[in-house]
């Protein structure tokens, strides 16, 4: 395990979610399911975060916000799309103001479906994201050493 995956910090942003997935994300961080035992802390600053948990689909106005948060994060970073609305638009995919899932604006690494996403599935998704984060951190390290 590299340094990045020992205690990854998450930043959570609600794109156009109904809040169901948001409260499940927060519930996963709370004593009921306790993601904090992995050293995961919820931060508000994109520059401190390693994992970007996005809930909800992308609409006309928040596509810029999602892109901006992603751009502000520092490498290595992973994106986890929580809930079916973030994966593909969910039940609202044919609404007039919805562009689609989050992958319309940023590259997504782990898709966790569900409506609302269950905390157990979320933990599973975050652990898979940690593997990807590990690979990326190692690749970055190698590039830095090689170059």
């Amino acid at each position: 395990m590299s340094f990045a995956t020992k205690s990854p910090w998450v930043i959570h942003y609600d794109a156009s979610s109904c809040n169901g997935c948001d409260i499940e994300v927060l519930a996963a961080l709370c004593p009921g399911f306790d993601l904090e035992r992995f050293g995961i802390v919820n931060t508000g600053n994109p520059k401190h975060a390693d994992i970007f948990l996005v809930t909800g689909s992308v609409n006309e106005r928040n596509q810029h916000v999602v892109k901006q948060i992603y751009d502000q994060m520092v490498e290595p970073k992973v994106v986890v799309a929580c809930g079916i609305c973030a994966c593909s638009g969910g039940i609202f995919h044919d609404c007039y103001n919805i562009l689609g899932g989050v992958d319309k604006v940023i590259p997504v690494d782990v898709y966790v479906p569900g409506c609302a996403v269950r905390p157990e599935a979320l933990i599973d998704g975050v652990v898979q994201a940690l593997d990807i984060l590990d690979q990326r951190a190692k690749a970055l390290e190698a590039k830095r050493k090689g170059a």
């Binding site: 006309e60 106005r61 007039y96 103001n97």
Partner: protein, 308 residues
């Protein structure tokens, strides 16, 4: 029990004075919304006082009409008025907190006024179906009325057997037995259980009723109440239909009777006929009489005129 609500329609220029009046009377503003219709946008304003919702509708607002804002009276309306402007294309003026049409920043202009072709087809289909159903019902009623005129209920048409009056005996069988054996002997033998072939005019209707009552007794109370209500409704419907048919019957046959007094000569001719035929014959004879009278009157008038 649902929340009591009233629905009223007002004109566009009554809107602002109404808002001022309701504010003065202490009404609470509930909400504003818009509904897209074929003839324009309907704006609904809802107010509440003492537990009753009052809905006021401004009907058929077109995009060229300016709608005054009520935010000077009720500030909380600004969200809904901005929304009506942005999503429905209503021209709202003087909103207290105005987002200039960019509250939601949607890419489609007035998206809620869009009705998809699939939807339109469904609505038209439903409207046509409702119209066809109504026409069919009316035709059926007319046909039933006509049928009732042609075939009225049998009245005094020879020896009609009335099952209820008979009881469980057959008058014909009785008469036969009595003429053969004598009345007393017949009675004695009947009591002993003979004449098993004697058919009992069953009151089928009463039997069906009894069976249904038994079934209802076995049902859970809610369902039983429903079934009873349905039966009562059906009985009321049938009674009404019969009354209607009877009324039309009377109209067809008795109209002429109530109109003019019966000519004694005609009455003599039709007194032995069955009622519908009587009506027709009477009508024909009266028409003939009227024609003759008219011709006579005309001749008289001509004669009189000629005499002047």
């Amino acid at each position: 029990m649902t929340i009591p609500a009233t629905w009223d329609t007002i004109a566009l220029d009554e809107l602002h004075p109404l808002a001022v009046k309701l504010k003065g009377e202490g009404y609470r503003f509930v909400q504003t919304h818009a509904v897209n219709t074929d003839a324009g946008i309907d704006l609904y304003y809802t107010f509440m006082k003492d537990g009753v919702l009052h809905n006021y509708k401004v009907a058929h607002v077109t995009p060229d009409q300016q709608v005054p804002s009520v935010t000077d009276q009720f500030l909380s309306a600004f969200v809904f008025e901005n929304e009506a402007r942005e999503l429905f294309g209503v021209d709202m003026r003087d909103i207290a907190i105005d987002f200039g049409g960019r509250m939601y920043d949607v890419s489609e202009k007035a998206p809620m006024t869009y009705v998809s072709p699939v939807q339109k087809k469904e609505i038209d289909k439903a409207r046509r179906a409702a119209l066809a159903k109504e026409q069919k019902l009316r035709k059926a009623q007319v046909a039933q009325a006509a049928f009732n005129v042609e075939h009225p209920q049998p009245q005094e048409k020879g020896a009609v057997i009335d099952p209820k009056a008979m009881g469980t005996r057959s008058t014909v069988g009785d008469a036969m037995n009595e003429s053969l054996m004598g009345a007393a002997k017949t009675a004695a033998r009947r009591d002993a259980g003979a004449f098993s072939f004697e058919f009992a005019m069953r009151d089928e209707k009463a039997e069906a009723q009894a069976a249904l009552e038994k079934k209802i007794a076995g049902m859970p109370p809610e369902k039983a109440a429903r079934v009873r209500a349905a039966m009562a409704a059906k009985a009321a419907r049938e009674a009404k239909a019969q009354a209607q048919a009877a009324a039309q019957d009377e109209q067809a046959t008795g109209a002429q009777a109530s109109e003019k007094p019966l000519d004694p000569a005609i009455a003599e001719k039709i007194k032995n006929l069955p009622p519908d035929k009587a009506a027709k014959v009477r009508a024909a004879l009266e028409a003939k009489a009227a024609r003759e009278a008219a011709a006579k009157g005309g001749a008289d008038a001509a004669a009189q005129k000629g005499a002047e």
